[in-house]
Amino acid sequence: MTLQELAAAALLFAGAFFFLAGAIGLLRFPDPCTRIHALTKADNLGLGFVVLGLAVEAPSVVLVAKLGVIWVLVLVSSSLSSQLIMGRAQARAPRTDPRGPT
């Protein structure tokens, strides 16, 4: 195993860890706020690490750029959808979270 492969494997495992943690969080956390937090964390960090891991092994710069674009697109859409879901959740049940905006 070369250093490159090792680095890629480590990064991919880190990504998988965040996805797993995000999935567990989504299932176990009690209210929409914390669940959204778990989900977006998986999207940002999990996918970020997976993309980094794949980029280390990528055969060309173009492919690295494509992976980067994918990551940015997912970031944008996940931050937007979390915004929308939370907006709707708060409109429905304003007092779900005691620490939320009053």
Partner: protein
């Protein structure tokens, strides 16, 4: 095949029937629709694993994305009617019918010759004669152009049928809720990006996976999100929209029929110009497919309504 490939394919193969089961047995209609969207994405992944990138693109864009949005926008209208579960006999009948079809398809698949190249070789040998460099585009627009021609006509007819049965309350011109700040800025980013992606897919279609159907459905997705978010009212049937609806079919019929005038066969594009002609056709088809798909959406969803409709359900 390595262990990783086996695991990946095994997980996909196990997930598909599981999610499908979830769709059928979901407790509520909105859960079923959500799972159906997930099913579309997983089957798109499966198609991609089978190296059928074109099918995967269409499955993700149309089968999952657009159909999911269509189902979600239809949800408020159909939910009140589905409170009562259908009778056991009816469910058993539908189940038996579907099981029969599945078994029939399975048996047919198993009886196919194990390894036949199909028509792939023939297509690759004769690809020079078509206007395209990518086998799938060559088949869709040249070798089997007849099929595609009729498909485009079917899409147009479907769009007209949708307009005919649309309820007056859903007629175009209504606007939905005001868009939230982040959603509006996301759309500012999404719309130009999808136009670029669609253009790229049409251009790629001549030599790589892509083409009019994929590009059209991405453009349509863009139009649908503009409508659902209330950024733009539903399409009005202006002269321009009507022209866009028929553009693809008109260009296709003209291109298909023109060779007849010179004593050639239908769809026998003249050799030296086949490439540019097929590309022009793809462009026209992209516009029409996008507009046709957008017309399937009745505009921004109605907001608080269930009480009024509750009279229908006993």
């Amino acid at each position: 095949m390595s262990l990783v490939d086996w695991t990946l394919d095994g997980v996909l193969a196990a997930l598909l029937p599981l999610i499908a089961w979830g769709v059928v047995t979901a407790a509520s209609l909105d859960k079923a629709i959500m799972l159906f969207i997930v099913l579309g994405f997983v089957s798109a992944l499966a198609w991609a694993r089978l190296d059928a990138i074109d099918v995967a693109l269409v499955e993700a864009a149309v089968g999952s994305g657009l159909t999911g949005a269509l189902l979600l926008s239809a949800l408020p209208a159909i939910q009140p009617r589905l409170r009562r579960p259908s009778s056991l006999a009816r469910r058993a009948g539908v189940g038996a019918l579907l099981a029969g079809i599945t078994i029939w398809l399975g048996v047919t698949t198993l009886r196919l010759p194990a390894r036949s190249g199909g028509l792939a070789e023939l297509v690759c040998e004769n690809i020079e004669q078509s206007g395209a460099l990518h086998p799938i585009t060559a088949v869709l627009l040249d070798f089997r152009g007849y099929d595609t021609l009729i498909e485009v006509a079917v899409l147009l007819v479907a769009s007209l049928a949708v307009r005919a049965v649309q309820r007056p309350r859903l007629r175009p011109g209504r606007r939905g809720e005001p868009t939230s700040e982040p959603l509006a800025s996301f759309l500012n980013l999404l719309v130009p990006a999808s136009i670029v992606i669609a253009g790229f897919l049409v251009w790629e279609g001549s030599h790589a996976p892509g083409g009019a159907f994929q590009a059209g459905s991405i453009l349509a997705g863009c139009g649908v999100s503009l409508q659902l978010t209330g950024e733009r009212p539903a399409l009005r049937m202006t002269l321009r929209v009507r022209a866009a609806l028929v553009l693809g079919l008109a260009v296709f019929v003209a291109l298909a029929g023109a060779p007849l005038l010179r004593g050639h066969d239908l769809l026998d594009y003249p050799r030296p110009w086949a490439g540019p002609l097929v590309f022009a056709l793809e462009l026209a088809l992209t516009v029409s497919i996008a507009v046709i798909l957008v017309t399937f959406f009745p505009g921004a969803p109605d907001r608080p309504e269930p009480p009024a409709r509750a009279a229908d359900s006993p």
